[in-house]
């Protein structure tokens, strides 16, 4: 079947063009003004077409907590948010620390048949930080990266071994940077607000100390590493310096770190829906993160989609679990808070949500709209508005601080390998 998308504004990381494109056999067959022979047409007049977004950091809660999210609901939420490929973290129950479970995730993703889900294998068995998992087997089973996310590998020697061993398989090691002794018991960023209300705080150096450690190790071993959910100005200074020196480090941030602050938590009265780890910072951090996104210190935007049930998030702030859902919001938030205020251009948006993640994850023929590339696409209406409400979120969990907010940037269609997997009108 030949699918034609016409009158589109195609946005790539390096150029924008007004043209048409033809999809055939799951690939982008032709891009041009005059295309004939289509079986089906989508008129994208006034709309923008992006390469499908790729999330390097999602929590699908499967296996173990399918009540909060499962492969189907997670895939549906991803599709709704314009994500055609996601990498899911292994902090499940049991952890994805063996090839059997990794293969199962790949299989489930294919049988649901919406988006591509690649597992991220655990670095250590049970994420206990002691024994390495079978990196080779995990890669063969479909893992594109390794991480103990949720935890930092506390033992520096174990991390060193992990970096060395991963090099052999050219597997990316993703670090969750948190000095757990410093952060222990903390519920929000250590700040005047946390002091005023007597809430145990997590100092920003809990992140930057481990960022520093991991970068030093990577430099020493010439390893390729990726730093997850960077949230503070201090970490960014270290990453910027490291990149200048040629260290092979990439970094991601999440939309909440360039939109929300400690003051928002206080103003809203400390609801569980504003609790996340790493914790929200202050205005200085937002400024630093925006700057780092623009100058490339931060390579990509990830969601850190972390579903939690209502009962859990309704717990008092100090007891509620950390995390926000994000698959359905990342695009709109990036559009609202970075593109609208001209921090970003649309090309930058594509770069951070699609092109760079594809490169970091080693996905070929992905992250770009070009002839011969996989037809993973998003068609969006940038003027359209939508209100974030529980009823219109596809994820099983609704824990987001943006509930009730109206956002600009609506996804009309999401196309995976040439097949339409989400259409707004059908919703």
């Amino acid at each position: 079947m030949k699918l034609l998308i016409k009158n589109a504004t195609l946005v790539n990381a390096d150029e924008i063009s007004k043209t048409n494109l033809l999809i055939e056999n799951g690939k982008i067959a032709e891009i041009g003004k005059d295309i004939q022979g289509a079986d089906k047409e989508i008129d994208a007049k006034g709309k923008y077409v992006f390469p499908g977004f790729i999330d390097l950091h999602t929590h699908l809660r499967t296996p173990g907590r399918e009540g909060d999210e499962d492969i189907l609901s997670g895939s549906t939420a991803a599709a709704k948010g314009g994500f055609t490929t996601i990498l899911c973290m292994p902090n499940t129950d049991p952890a994805i620390d063996n090839e059997g479970l990794a293969k199962w995730i790949r299989g489930e993703s294919q049988s649901v048949g919406l988006i591509d889900i690649y597992p991220i294998g655990a670095i250590t068995v049970g994420r206990a930080g002691k024994d390495l998992t079978e990196f080779g087997a995990l890669k063969k089973a479909g893992c594109l990266a390794l991480s103990d996310d949720g935890f930092t590998v506390d033992n520096t020697l174990v991390l060193r071994r992990a970096y060395e061993y991963a090099k052999m398989f050219d597997l990316l090691v993703i670090s969750h940077c948190e000095d757990s002794q410093l952060s222990c018991g903390g519920n929000m960023r250590e700040s005047f607000v946390s002091s005023k209300y007597g809430i145990a705080g997590i100092p920003d150096i809990a992140e930057s100390l481990i960022v520093s450690r991991d970068i030093e190790l990577a430099k020493y071993l010439d390893a390729r590493i990726h730093l997850a959910h960077i949230s503070s100005a201090k970490s960014l200074e270290i990453i910027r310096r490291a990149k200048k020196e040629g260290v092979r480090v990439t970094a991601e941030t999440c939309p909440h770190y360039f939109t929300l602050t400690i003051e928002d938590i206080e103003r809203e009265g400390f609801p569980g829906n504003f609790k996340v780890n790493p914790p929200l910072g202050d205005k200085k951090d937002i400024v630093a993160i925006k700057k780092a996104l623009v100058d490339g210190t931060i390579d990509c935007i990830a969601t850190d989609h972390a579903p939690h049930s209502l009962a859990e998030k309704e717990l008092p702030f100090e007891l509620a679990p950390f995390g926000f859902i994000g698959l359905e919001l990342a695009f709109s938030l990036t559009n609202n808070y970075l593109v609208k205020d001209k921090t970003f251009s649309l090309k930058d948006l594509v770069n951070k949500l699609s092109t760079q993640p594809a490169a970091i994850a080693g996905l070929e023929k992905c992250g770009k709209i070009a002839e011969g590339y996989i037809a993973d696409l998003v068609i969006a209406d940038l003027e359209g508005k939508w209100k974030v409400e529980e009823e219109n979120l596809a994820s099983k969990s609704k824990n987001t601080p943006f509930l009730g907010k109206e956002l600009e940037g609506v996804i009309e269609h999401t196309i995976k390998k040439g097949k339409i997997i989400y259409s707004r009108l059908k919703d």
């Binding site: 250590e190 700040s191 005047f192 946390s194 002091s195 005023k196 209300y197 007597g198 809430i199 705080g201 100092p203 009265g269 400390f270 609801p271 009962a311 309704e314 717990l315 008092p316 702030f317 100090e318 007891l319």
Partner: protein
Amino acid sequence: MTNMEEWQKKHILGIKDFNRQEIETVLSLADSFKEVSEREVKKVPALRGKTIVNLFFEHSTRTRTSFELAAKRLSADVVNFSFSTSSLTKGETIIDTIKNLESYHPDIMIMRIGVGVCLNSFAKHTQASIINAGDGRNEHPTQALLDMFTVKESKGSLENLNVLIVGDIAHSRVARSNIFGFQKFSSKVTVCGPTSLIPYEFEKMGVKVSNDLDKEIPSADIIMMLRIQKERQGAAFFPSLREYINKFGLTPQRLKKAKKDCLVMHPGPVNWDVEISSSLKEEVHPLILKQAENGLAVRMATLYLVGTQKREI
């Protein structure tokens, strides 16, 4: 026309939400309620037939008893519910418990809980007024009110005093509530304790931060000693009780350097020979006991104020 005060607050969650006039209203009412406790029949019908629930998720006999007696002396009906701290995350949630209690149509819920900043969200699930009997390390409003009442009783006014709060400031809701309270009367507050127990950027509260008790004592009008919990010793906040007492214990030698009319206060219970030397017991205990007595009157005042509010139907 009689002098009427417009009491607007449905809940009493923290002193940070009080204005000066509201504090003065509570204190002047507390005076009248003190008199009630001196009568033969220690009961007035002001809250007759009201249902007051003590909902404690953190163990406390003294505060609970104080509130219970305060409610009973106002002729209200009191029900006590105690839950262990561990039940907070297991099984029936706090919100479920509150919703279940709604079947008793409580007028006032007095809540004590080991975690802070959550009472405002619980208020959404009940018609009752909520009085905070201590939430995490956030606030303990009735304690601060009784402390201010005690000071006003002794000194005649709360204006322009030097208040010195000593001890584990970081974990103290009593310290926080008192800081908010005294500052509304242009009094200056100094907090003094080990650096490891003074919260991050605490000067932004408008207080002076110090580690030198000997330096601060001579200028203090009020010395408020806070309880030190032995568990803090284990968590590397300070190496030993001995060293803590050396630097921050109120000893006779230190008290000698204080102003003659300086008040020594303590929220209780006192760890004698830790926070305060037991040889000072005869001198300082009377006022500390008076704090507890005043607590009853102050709590009657707070119950009366929220309990007599017009109910919205």
